[in-house]
Each structure stands twice: as structure tokens, then as C-alpha cells.
Amino acid sequence: MTTATANPTTAPKRNLAHLYLLETKYEFLKLWRLRAYSLSTLAFPVMFYLIFGSTFGGFSTQGIRVAAYLMVSYAAVGVINAAVFAFGAGVAGERGQGWMMLKRVSPMPASAYFTAKTLMAVMFSVLVLVALTITAFLLQGVRLPVVTWLELLGTLAAGVVPFAALGLAFGYALGPNSAPTVLNLVNLPMTFVSGLYIPITQLPPVVQHIAPYLPAYHFGQLALAAIGARPVGTVAHHLLVLAIFTAVFLFAAVLAYRRDEGRTYG
């Protein structure tokens, strides 16, 4: 063993592609095997569709059938849950455990950690949309052209970003035990008021006035626009609002991280 700096020409190099691949693979497996996560992300939206989709599927709203509306909105709920819990509960829990500290001491690039969580949430988005597409087809005969479906998938996957940022802010601000409860208390009302459980047009006017202040509402409207719903507000407007929300959440995450630094070494 020598203490001199290793010769860069002969020193073995780690395989970064392999590193990112494994980080993503195990991030996915870690949560896939965690029933509390995979069930609430995948099974709950399907379950809600079975209940509300069969009850209200025949009506129409924003120019599309409620059966199609709810397929999209419950997929959006799945995406929001996947992202918020992967980042919020994930970061809070891994900080609390000390796993985050171990990773910070290791030469893992910090970007691998966040990339893996993002990709993991995207994979869950695909799964939840596939599950709902099948359910909606079998139950209500909802069919989308392939291109439309892909556009919807792209919109949903992109939606991971703002809600990952939201989760991250909470993940650094909350303790490992309180995180899941607090996130539920944030997520459930936010998604409901945003018209993702029941079409926004069916909610009381006061709720319809609150909705535009929530990121989930704008995300839901973008996803609905992707399948041809008559949009409330323009796509550009929704995108801009989501971009602002993302920036604010990331800024909050940085503040919470700084506050936490040196305490849990997170």
C-alpha cells in the first residue's frame, strides 16, 4: 500500500453507468417490496377507480367522459404519491437511519441518489398508468389512441419533478417518524381539492377557487389536456405555475438541508 496519490493512468475507474443503474434498480426494489409504498401508490388509485369510476363513469365533464377523466386523475394521484413519498418519506427516513450519512461518506455521487429516486418514481408512474388503463378499459371501455396515451404518459412522468421537489423539502424538514403522517395530511387534501378524486367541476365553488393555488390542480389539468379535455386555463399557464412551485420547493429544500446539516449529517 502506498500513500502517494494513485497514478491516474493506471488506477481502475468505476463504471458510472453501472453505478447509476444499480442505484436506480435498488431504489425501485427497496420501495416495490415495501407494501405500504407500492400499495398506496398502485393499488389505491385502482381501487378508487373501481368505486368512483363505476359510479360516475357515464357522466361527462370538461368535454370528456368522467370514466376517462378519473383514469387520468387517479393516475396523477399515483404519480404524486410516488414522488412525494419517495422523496419526502424516503429522505426523512434515510436521514434518520444514518443511511444518508453512510452514503455521504461513500464516494457515491449525490446526483445518483436523486436521479435514482426520480427514475423510480417515473417507473411507478408508468405502472400506475398501465394498471388504470387496463381497469378503465375493462370497466368502462375507455380507449385512447396510442399517441394520446404516450402523450399522457410523458405528461405524468414529467409531473414527478415538481412533486419530487415538494417531497424533498419535507424530507429535509421532517423527522423520520412524522414524515409519512404529515405527507398524507398534505397529499390527501391537496389532491382532493385539486379535483383528482372527484372532477373539479363537481366540487363546491369555494373549493374550485382554492384549487388554482395548489400544484396538484395544475398537474391534473395538464394531464387532462393531454387526452383532449377542454382545459381550464392554458397549458402554458399551468406549466409556468408548476415551474414556480418547483423552484420554491427546491429553495425550501436547500434551506431545510442547510438547517439540518451537521445534525443528522443528511
Partner: protein
């Protein structure tokens, strides 16, 4: 490993001709670290030399973990200079050369032991084969079990395996055997020896003198954020091999304190609690001077006493 003879077996690495008497791989110079108004470190100088096993020995709250946190780049010093492999501890090219077993409560429960190791192996340019790390930490049998479904001792060994998977030049072990029973602790020491046999550098923190003695080439004793003693395990042991003498006697405190071999004396009701470097001459003197002496007890000094002795030594 439960054979007590192994504990006193000659440590081949100490006399090994190829152990490099190398340069400094990690260093603190005049480091202070405050947490708010609490001074965790009050001016520490420490050099870790290539190839040595250095133990930071001290009671809880002495500043050992803070020292390790600084060397690992988890903390920044309030004042002073910290270097790992000659530079900033947060550099990737420094991080790929270290491994750390830290005081953590766990890693994700749903991933299997083998999966955890495979993931961490991917962070390093020249990691150990996963099978080798499993073998070194005695985890081969539970390799396919989820981390959440193995015993506490096995979990601790997973943390050890995660520290060595990168095949580090410099290994940090922060209180590695806290919570383990005696048998598991000795087995762990043997695993550490097996791994470091080839001349790696180790920084170990512990509050067990026995552990520092079992593993280290050099012991640095820290207390209240400062280095109070430094030496080989033999030197430190000699200075801490105190005995506690308890007796009910009419002798004055000052008289006893002046006896040869007495480190400290305290009155405890009718009795005196005497800390002595050697018990026999002190007891002989006591009996000669006070024929009425009773309730005599002689026992080994605890670690707290040992630190007291060292503190007095460093002030003398």
C-alpha cells in the same frame, strides 16, 4: 472466536517487517469544534500514519465521533486544519480510499444483505468481490436475507461489510462493538484483524480499553475535547492499571494521599475510596498505620478511574 488465548496472542502486524512506517494519511491541526455554546473539541492535534491502527479512546462525549466526523468531511471545524490524504476530506479521490463503519441505526430493511453490498461496491473503482466481503464479515449465510430480517449482531456486521467493500486504504470504525456481547465483540476483533492484516490504516474509536488494546498499535486518549494521553497499548495500560482500595479507617485524608502509589483519595461516609497505581504497598502501609482498619476491599479500577489517573498524569 471465544478462545481467550487469541486475545493475548502476539500481534504479528506490530512486528511485521513490511508494515510501512508511512506518511500522514489523515490529520487534524489545532482543531476546535463548537456546537453552539458547547465546545466538542478544544484544540486537537492528531496525525494518522499510514499502516497504523490508531485507537481514539475516551468516555462518551469525549469528542471521538466529532473527530471522525471531521476527518470524514461530515463536519467542518470551527477553527483549525483538517486533511484526508493531504486535502479536503470531501474530494471523491479521497472518499474512494476510505471505508467507514459509523454509528447508524440501520440501512433499508427491504434490501437483501448481498444487494446492499453490491450497491456500495459500485461506488468504488477497485472494490472487494461481494463474496469476499460477505466472508470477511461472516455474513455468507444471511446474504440472501433482507436486512430487516437479520439479528442485531448481523446488522452490525453488515455495517462493517459496507465499510470494507470498497477495499479501503483507510478504515474508520466508530464505536464498532457498542451493544455487542463479549463473544460477539471478540469475534468482531478477529474479523477486523483478518481484514487489516495486509497493512491497512485504521482509525478506531472506542470507550473500551480492552478493545483499543486488542486492535491498536497506538492509543490516543481523549477527554472533554482534548488529547490527554498518547502511547502504545502497553504504555497506556501501565498508566491505567490502577486498583481501587476501599477501607473504613481513622486515618486522615492527607496522610493517605501522601502514601506512595496513591493516585487519589475520596471520603465516602466512614470509608475511604483510594485509587492506587498498585494496591499491595498501599494496603501494607494502611494496615501498619491503622490496626483498627476494617472492611478492606481491593478491586480493579474502572475505566472512569483509569481516565482519572490519566488526567492526573497529564496534569502532573
Amino acid at each position: 472466536m471465544t478462545n481467550p488465548a487469541a486475545m493475548t496472542a502476539p500481534r504479528s502486524r506490530r512486528t511485521h517487517p513490511h508494515v510501512p512506517s508511512g506518511g500522514v494519511v489523515a490529520e487534524l491541526r489545532g482543531v476546535r469544534k463548537d456546537y453552539g455554546t458547547v465546545q466538542a473539541l478544544r484544540g486537537i492535534d492528531l496525525q494518522v500514519r499510514s499502516g497504523e491502527v490508531l485507537a481514539l479512546l475516551g468516555p462518551n462525549g469525549a469528542g471521538k465521533t466529532t473527530t471522525v466526523g471531521l476527518l470524514l468531511g461530515l463536519l467542518r471545524p470551527t477553527a483549525g486544519y483538517v486533511a484526508l490524504f493531504g486535502g479536503d476530506p470531501q474530494r471523491t479521490d479521497a472518499k474512494v480510499r476510505i471505508g467507514a463503519m459509523l454509528q447508524i441505526s440501520g440501512v433499508p430493511a427491504t434490501l437483501k444483505v448481498r444487494e446492499h453490498l453490491e450497491l456500495f461496491a459500485s461506488y468504488y473503482p477497485a472494490p472487494l468481490p461481494v463474496a469476499r466481503a460477505l466472508e470477511l464479515a461472516d455474513l455468507t449465510e444471511v446474504a440472501h436475507r433482507p436486512y430487516g430480517k437479520i439479528s442485531g449482531g448481523q446488522k452490525q456486521r453488515v455495517h462493517f461489510a459496507l465499510a470494507l467493500i470498497g477495499n479501503p486504504d483507510l478504515l474508520f470504525l466508530d464505536e464498532p462493538t457498542t451493544g455487542l456481547d463479549v463473544g460477539a465483540r471478540r469475534a468482531f476483533w478477529q474479523q477486523v484483524r483478518d481484514f487489516i492484516g495486509s497493512g491497512r490504516t485504521v482509525v478506531l474509536t472506542t470507550h473500551y480499553l480492552e478493545e483499543a488494546d486488542a486492535l491498536a498499535d497506538r492509543i490516543v486518549v481523549v477527554d472533554h475535547g482534548a488529547v490527554i494521553a498518547e502511547g502504545t497499548p502497553a504504555e497506556i495500560k501501565a498508566r491505567t492499571a490502577g486498583r481501587r482500595v476501599h477501607a473504613v479507617t481513622g486515618l486522615e485524608l492527607d496522610v493517605v494521599r501522601a502514601l506512595d502509589g496513591v493516585v487519589s483519595v475520596e471520603r465516602n461516609g466512614a470509608a475511604l475510596e483510594i485509587l492506587a497505581s498498585r494496591a499491595e504497598p498501599v494496603v501494607r502501609e494502611l494496615l501498619q498505620r491503622d490496626p483498627a482498619l476494617r472492611d478492606l476491599e481491593v478491586g480493579g479500577a474502572g475505566l472512569e478511574d483509569a481516565f482519572l489517573a490519566l488526567t492526573k498524569g497529564s496534569q502532573a
